[in-house]
């Protein structure tokens, strides 16, 4: 029990909460700020690293992930200093993955080489679309041409590169998406994240949706079809769907995200970063202040955290279920039973199996393709009470 984090590995997430502009669909913790005191931010990150390392001694660090916001707005020196400190605090895994989320504007591409020199070995780039009109509608600051150029530079600078696209966009049809996806696959290296547009409450799109002025979103049936063709086309290119929205050539999967999906331990640093950290044999959820200045002040006063809470065995089992079923490989029921101290309801399993939503290959439980399309409903059926 106590050593459970070992099953999923151990990672570090660092959140950079700033962007050049706020995209209308985005509900990530990102803020637009005129001037950012990089030195002050660096100091705060270092302080939080030290504090977290003290309670996670003797861990082998599998992955570091700079997420945002737009981490490609960080000075390369800031990134370098952070990675330098990380190296002193935790033992790196042999194949340690260090990812940075980047936006594909020319300004940022100019910093790629310096990030690589600082130790970043993987970039995840937010291309979002290969259609200029759509980039505009998504409020993006770059064109397709700029994006392609930035991606080429990234390919030269980093060992591993991936990019994100958002589909099921306004007025997008299935044939259009198929064409765009094929272009994307021609451009891609060995990893892709393909997200269906989600309308989030509290975003500009969310508000327009509420008012009924966000038109042309695909119906569920079309969105489902787009999802299915995405899996088929990616497979043609040798990219398999290893997770709901992630596609890779075998071996090129994102190690960082797999820590989440395998329900490993991870430390979260920066405004709004969450963590799951086993301390004294008990798994804890951690949360931090979301507001950038509030976080900075809190760190100066001792800790950026506003929550450290034990997660009960049932909650842990449910989290493992909900994260793990996103993966094509599914979850290990023996581990599930061990975490939660009890098994899933066999009748529910049988019903879902009969409906073709899940597959049981002892000890593995996985969602079928059909099941993955309605995964929330499948999980809601299964959750322990």
């Amino acid at each position: 029990m106590a050593e459970d984090w070992r099953n999923g590995g151990f990672g570090l997430y660092i959140h950079w909460p700033f962007c050049m502009a706020k995209c209308p669909y985005c509900d990530f913790n990102s803020h637009v700020s005129r001037s950012i005191d990089q030195k002050a931010w660096l100091d705060a990150y270092l302080k939080e690293l030290d504090r977290n390392a003290a309670r996670t001694p003797d861990r082998v660090l599998k992955s570091v992930f700079f997420g945002g916001g737009t981490p490609s707005l960080m000075e390369p020196e800031t990134v370098a200093a952070i990675l330098n400190r990380v190296g002193q605090l935790w033992t790196p895994a042999n194949d340690q993955e260090i990812t940075l989320e980047a936006n594909p504007t020319s300004v940022e591409a100019g910093r790629f080489q310096a990030y690589a020199e600082a130790g970043v070995n993987r970039v995840s780039m937010g291309l979002q679309s290969l259609r200029d009109d759509d980039l505009r509608r998504l409020g993006r600051m770059h064109t397709v041409a700029e994006g392609r150029r930035a991606f080429e530079i990234a390919k030269d600078c980093f060992g591993r590169v991936s990019f994100d696209l958002i589909y099921a966009r306004q007025d997008q049809t299935v044939p259009e998406w198929k064409a765009e996806l094929r272009e994307a696959l021609a451009l891609a290296a060995d990893h892709l994240s393909l997200y269906q547009l989600t309308i989030e409450a509290g975003t500009a799109f969310g508000d327009r949706y509420e008012r009924g002025t966000l038109r042309g979103l695909p119906e569920d049936d079309d969105a489902a079809e787009m999802y299915e063709v995405t899996q088929e086309i990616c497979a043609e290119f040798g990219m398999y769907d290893y997770e709901v929205s992630n596609y890779a050539k075998p071996g090129a999967e994102s190690r960082h995200n797999q820590i989440y999906w395998h329900y490993g331990d991870y430390v979260g640093i920066g405004p709004g970063a969450h963590g799951r950290v086993t301390m004294n044999g008990i798994r804890h959820a951690t949360d931090t202040w979301k507001q950038p200045q509030k976080w900075l002040d809190a760190v100066a006063a001792g800790t950026g955290e506003n929550l450290v809470e034990a997660v009960s065995p049932t909650e842990q089992a449910n989290e493992y279920l909900m994260m793990g079923l996103r993966l094509t490989e599914g979850i290990d029921l023996e581990r599930f039973n061990q975490i939660g101290g009890r098994a899933l309801n066999p009748r529910t399993l049988k019903e879902l199996q009969d409906m073709g939503m899940i597959e049981l290959e002892s000890p593995y439980l996985k969602a079928t393709r059909a099941g993955r399309l309605v995964l929330n409903a499948v999980i809601a059926e299964l959750l322990l009470d």
Partner: protein, 599 residues
């Protein structure tokens, strides 16, 4: 003890929202009955539900002292009554206890359906009526037109009506004077044996059952041993008092006076409104005529969402029934919904009020089933069964015929909406009895089947007339008709709680509408679900709810597992609020919303 000549008893009656309670406020305030700092709007509407909905549900009595211009101080007993048709019983009963009525008419609106209904009741009760035109502070006020309307439509003299604003206080002194000069003093004999009318009763957590009385003859004092002439109950009077509006003890109540008593009566059920109270010994001989009992006309099932809360529900219903003699209940069990209660109400608002109170005051989530009326089922063997619940419909082969209750409905509506109203009544199987005009308003009188009205008629009426129509009804009797029981099958299983009785000619339309509605109300499942309406095994309408197509979170929230887990747990908890029928989960609100027609 007050001299009869110095007492005036009156009720304030009006259509809903015409300002009765606000007028009561001003009368209470201007006579200094309640200290200025304790005043609040619609002071007498003390129940939460009343305050929240801004309506009066229970009639309330207040005693005020008024020093009149003639130099004498009068005791005025006012009864503020509810305006909504469901509670018209409260009005008629209140009228029996007083000699006059202030007929309040909103001078921006004019005569409405309940204005009429109330006037007729007042005339029946031999009341002196003082018309009061309210809301003169509003620009749309038109007293001349409304006075004319009162004379034309109601046929009473409105030339000396009083023009007031209950809001600003304009005209209130005139109302007070008119009460004294125009309403009669009560009659009665102080030396005769005690004869008092049991006007109302309610349960108070501290005092037990409180009985509101109007003394006709004789005198009642604390310690007297009293007898209820109908129920035969005998009790010593423990406490005697008047409402000002809080309770104030008083030594005795004499003829013409209104007040309350307590007498260690255990249950409200032990008191019967309209009963005659006299003394145990040397009592009066002839009881008062009593009131026409109120009969529940709308029935529905109330079931706890969580079946473990059945006992809590029983407790809640028993407590509420203690206070509300017009609400009836009996245990019911449904294959689909488990154990619950079949409850009878005076109308839909009454139903809503009781349901709200159970949910809020007792914190029980309820499933409310389709409201139904009481059918008379005549069996071939000559027996007649009162059918309160479509699920209990006997085997058709044994049934000779059915009768349904009908009502006489009075609808007042501005001309321009008349066409829509007539169509609505026509669609609901109405038979026109009368159609008259008064200025730009029409008055339509219809004979309608209650089952077509009970559910959403009032809502539909409001919506087709943009709220400008008013509506009143009385039960008129039973009539044979072609009625059938329609069942709803969800995923091929009959759901008894969705069965309804319907007229044969309306069955297909209703069936189709219900299937369509259910298709919207039941969330998509992982499989497709047929929804059918059937009469005696024959399917008359069918819809198919497609299987859930897509429900998956695209984005991976960098480890924000807590939020995601809580969302999914909520999704799961939401399912608990539904009822399982075979493999299908039906949300609780579907049972009632499935019936709403958008004709």
């Amino acid at each position: 003890m007050t001299e009869l000549s110095n007492i005036r008893n009156f009720s304030i009656v009006a259509h809903i929202d015409h300002g009765k309670s606000t007028l009561a406020d001003r009368l209470i305030q201007m006579t200094g009955t309640v200290a200025e700092r304790d005043m609040k709007a619609q002071l007498l509407d003390s129940m939460d539900i009343e305050r929240e909905r801004g309506i009066t549900i229970k009639a309330n009595t207040v005693r005020i002292d008024y020093p009149a211009k003639d130099g004498q101080t009068y005791v005025l007993n006012l009864i503020d009554t509810p305006g909504h048709v469901d509670f018209s019983y409260e009005v008629s009963r209140s009228m029996q206890a007083v000699e006059g009525s202030l007929l309040v008419v909103d001078s921006t609106q004019g005569v409405e359906a309940q204005t009429l209904a109330n006037v007729y009741q007042a005339i029946d009760a031999n009341h002196e009526i003082v018309p009061v035109l309210n809301k003169v502070d509003l620009p749309a006020s038109d007293c001349a037109r409304v006075a004319e309307q009162i004379e034309d439509v109601i046929g009473i003299d409105a030339s000396n009506s009083i023009h007031i604003s209950a809001k600003t206080g304009v005209g209130i002194p005139d109302v007070l004077e008119a009460i004294v000069t125009r309403l009669p003093a009560p009659k009665g004999d102080r030396n005769a044996p005690l004869k008092a009318m049991l006007v109302d009763s309610y349960y108070d957590a501290y005092l037990g059952v409180v009985v509101i009385i109007r003394v006709i003859d004789g005198v009642i004092k604390k310690g007297d041993r009293i007898k209820m002439m109908k129920t035969g109950g005998q009790y010593p009077v423990e406490k005697l008092g008047v409402f000002r509006p809080q309770m104030q003890d008083i030594a005795e109540l004499g003829p013409g006076e209104i007040g309350f008593l307590t007498a260690s009566i255990k249950q409200v059920r032990d008191t019967r409104v309209g009963d005659t109270i006299t003394t145990e010994k040397k009592g009066c001989e002839v009881p008062l005529p009593g009131f026409k009992p109120s009969i529940p006309v709308v029935f529905c099932g109330l079931f706890p969402v969580d079946s473990a809360e059945f006992d809590d529900l029983r407790n809640a219903i028993e407590k509420l029934a203690l206070n509300d003699a017009s609400f009836s209940y009996e245990m019911e069990s449904s294959a689909a919904l488990g154990f619950g209660f079949r409850c009878g109400f005076l109308g839909l608002l009454h139903l809503e009020v009781i349901r709200d109170r159970i949910e809020r005051e007792y914190n029980i989530d309820l499933i409310t089933t389709a409201p139904s009326v009481v059918y008379h089922v005549f069996m071939k063997d000559g027996e007649m069964i009162e059918l309160h619940n479509p699920a209990d419909m006997p085997d058709l082969s044994k049934v000779d015929h059915l009768e349904e209750p009908r009502i006489k409905a009075t609808i007042m509506v501005p001309d321009e909406y008349l066409g829509d109203v007539l169509k609505l009544c026509q669609d609901r199987r109405g038979v026109q009895l009368d159609l008259t005009y008064a200025g730009a308003r029409a008055m339509a009188v219809y004979d309608l089947p209650l089952n077509e009205v009970v559910f959403d008629f009032y809502d539909r009426l409001k919506s087709v007339t943009k709220g400008y129509a008013s509506f009143d009804y009385q039960m008129s009797g039973y009539q044979e008709d072609q009625l059938v029981k329609m069942q709803i099958l969800v995923n091929d299983e009959p759901v008894d709680a969705l069965s309804i009785m319907v007229h044969r000619t309306r069955a297909e339309t209703r069936g189709r509408a219900m299937c369509e509605k259910l298709k919207e109300l039941i969330p998509r499942h992982m499989f497709k679900i047929p929804i059918q309406a059937a009469i005696g095994g024959k399917v008359i309408a069918r819809e198919t709810l497609a299987a859930l197509r897509k429900d998956v979170t695209a984005k991976c929230y960098g480890g924000d597992a807590t939020r995601k887990r809580k969302l999914l747990e909520k999704q799961k908890a939401g399912k608990k609020k539904m009822r399982q029928f075979g493999r299908v989960e039906i949300p609780q609100e579907a049972f009632i919303n499935a019936l709403k027609m958008d004709d």
